[in-house]
C-alpha cells in the first residue's frame, strides 16, 4: 500500500487496533474509554506537554535523563532517585531492546533472568510484558511527568499500553525509530505503524487529553548534519500533525561546535513553524529538545563530565526547551542510578548558572542558521516533488533515491552514501553528498570548509578523516587529528 500523509480513517484504525492488541496478552487489558478517563484525572503537574510549554514561556531549559531497568519496583526506585538525588525535571521510561523489536518472549526471559540473578539483564523497562497496571504503578509513583523513550519501528501495542498506563509523552516516529534502529523494516510499514501511533495520540487529544509527541532527533547520533535530522523532524511533525497531534517536541543531537548547535536549535523551531503553517496545521505547539553528544564518549568519567557540561551549556545558550542528559558511565554501559543522577546534577548546575543569561546571538549564528534552512528546505522540497505533494510518499521515494540519507544507519532502506566530516572549526559538514539535492553553491561551502581543514592538517579529506572524527570526542578532541 502506497504511503500517504492522510488522517487514518477511524474504522480502519479500529481494525488495525484489534489485531495490534492481540500480539501479546497484556494488550487485552487496554480499554480505550477507560484509558482516557484515567488519563483525564492525571494532575497538570504530571502532564509532560504542559511542563514543556511553561518552560518555553519562561525561557528555561529542563533536564531529562534516560533510564529503564527490567523490574517494576527497581524501575520506580530508579526514577525516584533521579528526581530526589539528581533533580531531574522530567522523567523517562526507557524501553529494552527486545521490546523495541516486538520480541516479547525474549523480554520475558530477560525479566525472569533478572529476577534470578538479582541485577537487570535487560537494557530497559519491558513495558508491554509488565502491562498496563505496572505502568500505572510507575507513573503514579512519580511527582513529575514521565515519557516513554524507546526505538521501536512497530510501536502500536507499546503505545496503547503506555498511554493507558498514564505516560503523558511518547518518543519516536516512522523514520527516526526505523532508519537508525532497524535493518529490514520497510519505511512504508514503519510510517504506517507510526501513523497509527499518532492517530491514537490524536484521538486522545480530541477527547481532551493532550499527549506530547517527540520525534527522535539525533538519529544515529554520529556526525549527523543538522539538515538531515531537521528534515526528518519536520517530516515527522507533518505526519503527526495530520493525525491530530498538537504537542510536538522536535529534537537535535549536539554536534559540538557551539555556533552550529545554537543555529540548529533555533532554525529547527523556525522551520517547523514554517512548514506546519504552510500545510495548514493550526494550534500545534512546538518545543525543542537538545541531546547532549550522542556519539562515542570518553571512558574517563571526568572527561565525560566535561562533555556532559558542554552539552548542558550549549542547550542553555540555545534556549532549547529540554536537554537529554548523558552520564559519566556512557562509554562503558548502562549507568548505575548514582552515575545517572551525577550527570543530571552537573547538567543542572550549568542550566541554572546559564538560565538568566541571554540567548547567544551573533552574525555567524545567523549565517549558519540560514545555511541550515536552505539545506533543509532543499531536501524537503525535493521530497515533496517526489511525493507529488505528499510528504509521506515523498519520504519513501526520497530514501530510495538517497535524496535524504542518514549517515551510519543500519537500515537497508537507507542509501548510506553520505560521508560527514568536521570542518576546521569542528562543525559537521559533508565530504560526500551522496544524492542530496544541494545546489553547487551549497556544496561549495562544504567543500571549501573541509578543504580548509585538510590544509591545516596537511592531508586530503578521506574516510580516514571520518573515522578520526568518530573517535575524536571519545579521545578528548572535537576535530579528529591525523595519527
Amino acid at each position: 500500500m502506497q504511503s500517504q500523509n492522510r488522517k487514518l480513517d477511524w474504522e480502519q484504525f479500529l481494525k488495525i487496533r484489534e489485531e495490534a492488541l492481540k500480539s501479546w496478552p497484556t494488550g487485552q487489558e487496554v480499554d480505550l474509554a477507560e484509558a482516557i478517563a484515567y488519563q483525564k484525572q492525571i494532575p497538570a503537574s504530571r502532564r509532560f506537554g504542559q511542563r514543556l510549554e511553561e518552560a518555553k514561556k519562561e525561557g528555561i531549559t529542563l533536564a531529562q535523563p534516560r533510564a529503564g531497568v527490567a523490574l517494576v519496583h527497581e524501575h520506580i526506585e530508579l526514577l525516584r532517585f533521579l528526581v530526589d538525588e539528581g533533580g531531574a525535571d522530567l522523567l523517562p521510561t526507557t524501553i529494552d531492546s527486545y521490546t523495541r523489536q516486538n520480541r516479547y518472549n525474549e523480554a520475558q526471559a530477560g525479566i525472569e533472568e533478572s529476577r534470578t540473578v538479582g541485577r537487570s539483564m535487560l537494557n530497559g523497562f519491558p513495558a508491554v510484558n509488565h502491562g498496563l497496571t505496572a505502568c500505572r504503578e510507575v507513573t503514579e509513583a512519580m511527582k513529575v511527568p514521565v515519557q516513554v523513550r524507546h526505538g521501536t519501528p512497530d510501536a502500536r501495542l507499546l503505545t496503547e499500553i503506555s498511554l493507558a498506563g498514564g505516560f503523558t509523552a511518547y518518543e519516536g516516529g516512522g523514520i527516526s525509530y526505523n532508519i537508525p534502529y532497524a535493518k529490514e523494516v520497510p519505511l512504508e510499514r514503519s510510517i504506517r505503524d507510526w501513523q497509527y501511533v499518532d492517530r491514537l495520540v490524536g484521538y486522545y487529544e480530541e477527547q481532551g487529553v493532550s499527549i506530547n509527541r517527540e520525534p527522535f532527533g539525533p538519529l544515529t547520533g554520529t556526525l549527523v548534519p543538522p539538515c538531515i535530522s531537521h528534515a526528518v523532524a519536520i517530516i515527522e511533525a507533518l505526519l503527526a500533525a495530520e493525525q491530530g497531534v498538537k504537542s510536538l517536541t522536535l529534537g537535535y543531537g549536539q554536534c559540538g561546535n557551539l555556533l552550529q548547535d545554537v543555529a540548529a536549535v533555533r532554525s529547527l523551531e523556525e522551520l517547523a513553524d514554517e512548514y506546519l503553517e504552510r500545510f495548514g496545521y493550526k494550534n500545534v505547539v512546538i518545543t525543542t529538545v537538545f541531546h547532549q553528544w550522542m556519539g562515542g564518549f570518553p571512558q574517563d568519567e571526568s572527561k565525560a563530565f566535561g562533555v556532559i557540561s558542554w552539552g548542558a551549556a550549549t542547550a542553555a545558550m540555545a534556549k532549547a526547551t529540554k536537554v537529554i542528559v548523558k552520564t559519566p558511565h556512557e562509554a562503558l554501559g548502562i549507568p548505575t542510578k548514582e552515575a545517572n543522577a551525577a550527570g543530571i546534577r552537573a547538567t543542572k548546575q550549568l542550566l541554572n548558572m546559564l538560565k538568566d543569561q541571554p540567548p547567544l546571538v551573533n552574525n555567524e549564528i545567523i549565517t549558519e542558521k540560514e545555511l541550515i534552512k536552505i539545506e533543509t528546505r532543499a531536501i524537503l522540497e525535493r521530497l515533496l516533488e517526489f511525493g507529488e505533494g505528499d510528504i509521506a510518499l515523498g519520504t519513501v521515494r526520497g530514501f530510495q533515491a538517497g535524496v535524504i540519507d542518514v549517515p551510519f544507519a543500519p537500515s537497508r532502506f537507507n542509501a548510506g552514501r553520505l560521508l560527514p566530516a568536521r570542518d576546521h572549526n569542528g562543525a559537521v559538514r559533508l565530504l560526500d553528498f551522496g544524492n542530496l539535492p544541494f545546489g553547487e553553491d551549497i556544496k561549495e561551502v562544504h567543500r571549501e570548509k573541509i578543504a580548509q581543514r585538510g590544509k591545516l592538517e596537511g592531508r586530503d579529506p578521506s574516510f580516514q578523516m571520518v573515522i578520526d572524527d568518530i573517535y575524536a570526542i571519545g579521545k578528548g578532541m572535537l576535530v579528529g587529528k591525523p595519527r
Binding site: 535493518k183 562503558l332 554501559g333 548502562i334 551510519f408
Partner: protein, 143 residues
C-alpha cells in the same frame, strides 16, 4: 599477509543490536589490514554467524555486542558451531558486552567460559584485535 593464506573473518553485531558505527569501522580496519572480511552487519542471529562461517569456510568469527544483551545473545554460539561441524573455529567477541559498568576480568571469564577464544572490553581499538589474530594464527609479524 600476501605470502600466507589470507584469513577469512565473519564480522557481525549479534542479537537485536543495531549499533552500526563500530561495525563499519571494524570492516574497514580489518580489510585494510589484509583480511578477507565477510560482514553480516547488525541484528545478526547466531544462525547467520554460523551459516556465513560454514559457507565461506571462515577462519574466525568476530562478534560485536554493544547494547547490553550480549550475555543472553552469545550463549550457545560455540555449541551451534560444534553442531555445524566447525567446533574448532576461533571466536572473538567485543563491545559493551554486558549491562552496565562491571568488573572486566569477571566479564571476560564469563565469555571465555561460553567458548570465546578472546573477549575485548569497551573501546578496544581494531589494531589490538588485528595483532592478536595475527599472533593466534601463528604469523610472526603483521601482514
Amino acid at each position: 599477509m600476501e605470502e600466507k593464506k589470507q584469513l577469512t573473518l565473519i564480522l557481525g553485531v549479534i542479537g537485536a543490536d543495531v549499533h552500526a558505527v563500530g561495525n563499519r569501522i571494524l570492516e574497514y580496519a580489518f580489510t585494510e589490514a589484509g583480511f578477507k572480511v565477510v560482514n553480516i552487519g547488525v541484528m545478526a542471529s547466531q544462525e547467520e554467524f554460523i551459516n556465513a562461517a560454514v559457507e565461506t569456510n571462515a577462519d574466525a568469527i568476530l562478534v560485536s555486542s554493544l547494547y547490553g544483551h550480549g550475555e543472553i545473545d552469545c550463549r550457545g554460539l560455540r555449541e551451534k558451531a560444534i553442531e555445524a561441524g566447525i567446533g574448532q573455529i576461533k571466536m572473538y567477541v567485543g563491545g559493551n558486552l554486558v549491562v552496565g559498568k562491571q568488573d572486566w576480568l569477571e566479564v571476560e571469564k564469563r565469555f571465555t567460559n561460553m567458548g570465546f577464544d578472546r573477549a575485548y572490553p569497551p573501546g578496544t581499538m581494531p589494531q589490538e584485535a588485528i595483532d592478536d589474530i595475527v599472533r593466534d594464527f601463528g604469523f610472526k609479524e603483521r601482514c
